[in-house]
Symmetry: C2
C-alpha cells in the first residue's frame, strides 16, 4: 500500500497546505537552481547533447535555459537537468546528499512551458516532487548510496514523475503507474563522478521521470507496488526496508524546508576557511603585499580532501584549500570564475597560496575554522567561524542567494535579465503566464535585442 498511499497524498495535496517556509524555500531553491543552470548553458557537454537533439529532429517546445535553442520537452528536461549540475553548485539535502532541484525542476519547467502552467502550479509540483524524492532517498540511504547509486539520479526520476503527475492532475491510479514506470528506470552510477556523465544523471532522471508521467497518464499500466514489493525499487537497489518513511506524517513538515545552498563552488570542507577570510577582508581590505602568512587551523578532513597546494587547473583549485582561501582573499567570493584555469594561474593568486599554512586540529568540527593573518607590520588578525555560511545553522541569506545568482550566471544573460528574473522568482506564485520568465532566460544578446 506504500505506493498507493503515496499516490493518494500526491493527488490530494494542494498549494494551500504548504507552510510559508516551504513556499519561501521553494522560491529560494528555484532561484539557486536557475542560476547554476543558466551559468553552465554554454559548457561543451551542452553543445554535444544539443547536437544529438538536432539529430533526432527535436522540435521547439521548451527553452534551454541560457540559450537561444528550444527543443522538445524531453530534451529540455535532459539539457536543463545537466546544466544545473555541471558546476556541482546546486542545492543539497544534507542528510542524504540528494540534490533535489536538478532532476525535478527541469521536468516541471519543460512541461509547464509547453502546457502553459502558472507559477503557483510550478511551485506546487516542485514541493511535491522534492518531498517524494527526499523521502525515497531517506528510505534507501545509506546502503543505496554506498552500493554505488548516485542518489540524485536514481531517486530523482521518481520525484520528477511525482511532480509531473501533480502538474498533469493525474488521478491516483495513473499516478501509481507514473511512479512505477519511473521506478523501473533509475539512472546513475557513482562511478561516473568526475566525468560529463555525472550531470547527465539528474538530466536523464528528469527526462525519464517526465516520460514516465506522460506514459502513465495514458493509463499505461505498471505494478501497483513498484516501490515496496519484494522485487520493487527499494529492495532491488538498497538493503534498508524503511518504506514507512515514504508516507508517514505526510504534510506535517516539508522536506524542501531543509534545503541548503552552496555559497562557494568548491567542496564543502573548504567553506569555513573561505567564510573566515571573506569576513576578514570585508573589514580590512588587505593587499597581498600586506600579508606575511595566513594560518588556517581546521578539521583533519580539510587536509585529506583539499590539501593540494601545487595546482594548475581550475578543477584542481576546488581541491585546494590554499587556493580557496586565496580566492576569498582577493575576490570576496569563490564562485565559478575563481575556479577557472585562468584564475588559478594568476601570479598574485599563486603567490598568496604559498603564504598559507594549514594546521590540523582534531578538536575542531567540520563546519568550524580558525584563520590567523600575520601582517608584514607585525599585527595579527584572527577570525574564528563556528558554523560556516551555507551550513544548516547558518543558511545563506536571500541577499547572498541574489549575489550568487548575479555571479554564477556570468555573462550568459544581461544584468537587466538577472534582476528581472530575481524579481519574478520572488513573486513566482503570482505569475499566471510564464512566457516572460522564459524569455528572460535567453542569452544576453537576444535579451538585449528584443
Amino acid at each position: 500500500m506504500v505506493t498507493k498511499t503515496l499516490a493518494q497524498h500526491i493527488a490530494k495535496t494542494s498549494y494551500e497546505q504548504f507552510s510559508e517556509t516551504a513556499i519561501h524555500e521553494a522560491k529560494r531553491s528555484l532561484l539557486n537552481w536557475l542560476g547554476v543552470a543558466i551559468g553552465a548553458a554554454n559548457h561543451e557537454s551542452m553543445e554535444m547533447v544539443l547536437n544529438v537533439a538536432k539529430t533526432t529532429a527535436s522540435q521547439p517546445q521548451a527553452t534551454v535555459l541560457g540559450r537561444n535553442e528550444k527543443v522538445d520537452m524531453l530534451f529540455a528536461a535532459l539539457l536543463n537537468g545537466m546544466s544545473s549540475h555541471i558546476y556541482d553548485f546546486d542545492d543539497t539535502l544534507l542528510e542524504t546528499v540528494l540534490h533535489p532541484s536538478a532532476p525535478v525542476f527541469p521536468a516541471i519547467l519543460a512541461y509547464a512551458e509547453k502546457e502553459k502552467k502558472t507559477g503557483k502550479e510550478v511551485l506546487e509540483a516542485f514541493i511535491i516532487g522534492c518531498e517524494v524524492e527526499a523521502r525515497l532517498a531517506l528510505s534507501v540511504y545509506p546502503s543505496h548510496y554506498w552500493r554505488g547509486w548516485h542518489i540524485t539520479g536514481s531517486v530523482g526520476g521518481i520525484g520528477a514523475a511525482a511532480a509531473i503527475s501533480k502538474l498533469m492532475g493525474l488521478d491516483v491510479e495513473k499516478t501509481i503507474y507514473a511512479l512505477g514506470i519511473a521506478a523501473t528506470d533509475p539512472t546513475g552510477l557513482r562511478e561516473m563522478f568526475g566525468t560529463m556523465t555525472k550531470p547527465y544523471h539528474p538530466g536523464k532522471a528528469a527526462m525519464n521521470g517526465l516520460l514516465a508521467a506522460l506514459v502513465g497518464g495514458q493509463g499505461f499500466t505498471s505494478s501497483v507496488k513498484p516501490l515496496e514489493a519484494e522485487r520493487g525499487f527499494l529492495k532491488v537497489t538498497s538493503e534498508e526496508n524503511k518504506s514507512e518513511l515514504i508516507t508517514e506524517n505526510w504534510g506535517e513538515k516539508w522536506e524542501v524546508e531543509k534545503n541548503s545552498y552552496k555559497p562557494f563552488a568548491s567542496g564543502i570542507v573548504t567553506h569555513p576557511a573561505i567564510d573566515a577570510i571573506i569576513t576578514i577582508q570585508k573589514e580590512h581590505k588587505l593587499q597581498v603585499g600586506d600579508v606575511e602568512s595566513i594560518t588556517v587551523t581546521a578539521h583533519p578532513l580539510v587536509k585529506e580532501l583539499t590539501g593540494k597546494i601545487e595546482i594548475t587547473t581550475g578543477l584542481e583549485g576546488k581541491f585546494s584549500v590554499f587556493h580557496c582561501v586565496a580566492a576569498g582573499f582577493f575576490n570576496l567570493k569563490a564562485g565559478v570564475y575563481e575556479f577557472t584555469d585562468e584564475y588559478v594561474n594568476r601570479p598574485d593568486v599563486k603567490e598568496l597560496r604559498h603564504k598559507i599554512n594549514l594546521v590540523i586540529d582534531e578538536n575542531i568540527k567540520e563546519d568550524q575554522v580558525n584563520v590567523t593573518v600575520k601582517l608584514a607590520d607585525g599585527r595579527e588578525i584572527t577570525q574564528c567561524i563556528e558554523h560556516a555560511i551555507g551550513s544548516t545553522d547558518t543558511p545563506m541569506t536571500n541577499e547572498q542567494l541574489k549575489d550568487k545568482f548575479y555571479d554564477v550566471t556570468g555573462d550568459v544573460i544581461s544584468t537587466h535579465a538577472k534582476s528581472a528574473l530575481i524579481d519574478l522568482v520572488n513573486r513566482f506564485d503570482e505569475l499566471e503566464d510564464l512566457t516572460g520568465f522564459f524569455s528572460l532566460c535567453k542569452p544576453a544578446q537576444t535579451a538585449n535585442k528584443y
Copy 2:
C-alpha cells in the same frame, strides 16, 4: 581494462569474422523478432506511447513496424522494442533468460533507416550487440536476475549501445563512453511482470542505448571502467564478479548461435504437450467427437505452473496446459489467436479441455511428455516427445519459423508483404538499400494500395 578491451573488440570486429552459423542465426533472429513486433503493432499500449510521441512533437525519421506512423529514432526504438515483447513470443538465450533481439534490433533499425545503412551493416551490428548483452548477462547471472532485475532491460541497453557504436563506426574511446552512458542507465524491475511496463523495458533499453551511443559519439565523457569498477555496473547490480566472461575468447564462437525461438505463445513447460498433440493430429486428423479422453503425463512443473482448467481469458489460457493441448488439437498450433478471449471461450475448445487429464511423473524431464488419446471406438494413440520443438536439442526449422511469421503477423500486413519480407530477410546481407524492407512493414491497406 574490461570495458576498454570490450570496446576494442567492438571496434575491430567485422562481418567477415562471423561464422556462417552466426549469420544464419542472426537472420533467423531478425525474422522471428520482426514477426512478433509487427504482430503486436496495434496493441492498446502502443497507441498510448504513440500518443506521447505526438505530444513531444516526435518527427518522422523511422518506421513503427506494422503501422503507418513514422516517429523519431528514439521513439521508434522504444515503440518497436515494446511491440516485439508484448506477446512474450520473442527469442531467448536460455542460459540467462535474456531476450536478445528486443532491446537491440529496434535501436539498430531506427538508426539504420535514418542513416541509410545496408543489410550487412545491420546484421553486423546485431551480432555484436547480441554478443555484448549476452556476455554481460552471463557475467551478472543469476544474482542480478534474482535480485529483481529484468535482465533483458537492464543489460539490453548496453547491448544496444554496443550495436549502435558499431553502426556509427565509433573509435575505441567513444565506444567506451557509449557503453558507460548506457551502463549508468539500466531499465527493468521484474516487479513489472504482468503489466504493460514489462515490454516497456526492452523498448526503453533500446531508446536508452541508442541515446547513449549518439551522446558518446559526440565525445561526451563517461568513466573508462563503467562495467568493472568498484562502483560500476557489475558490482552495483549483482554479486558475482565474473567480468572475465565479458571479453575472454572473443570471436571463437558467437552467442547468437545459441539463440532459440518459441514455437508456441504459452509458457515453455507446455511446449512438449502441444508438440505431442500436433504430431498426433497431423497424422490422425481427429474430431472432438472421436475423443473419449486425453492423458498428458508430464513433469511436475507443468501442473504447478499451468494446472488451471477453468479459464475464461486468453491470458489464463497461457497458464493452462489443458487449453494449450486443446489449441494444438484443433489448430495444429498455439499462436497469438489461440490465446485470445474469443478462442478460449469457444464451446468445442472448452469441451475438449474437460476431456484432458494431467498425470505428473517425477521421472519425466522438463522438455519431455507422453500423450495418450483414448478414442470413443476403444483405440489408443500414444505420442512420446523426447525434446520438444524449440528446445536446444530440437530447434525450430526454417520452415517452422516462416509459418510462425505468417501466423504471428496476423492481418497486420498483407500476405504478399509477409512472403516478400521472408525473402528479404533471407538475403538481408545483400540489401544495399533498406527502403523496400521498411515499406513492406506498413499495414495491409497501405501495402495493398501502393
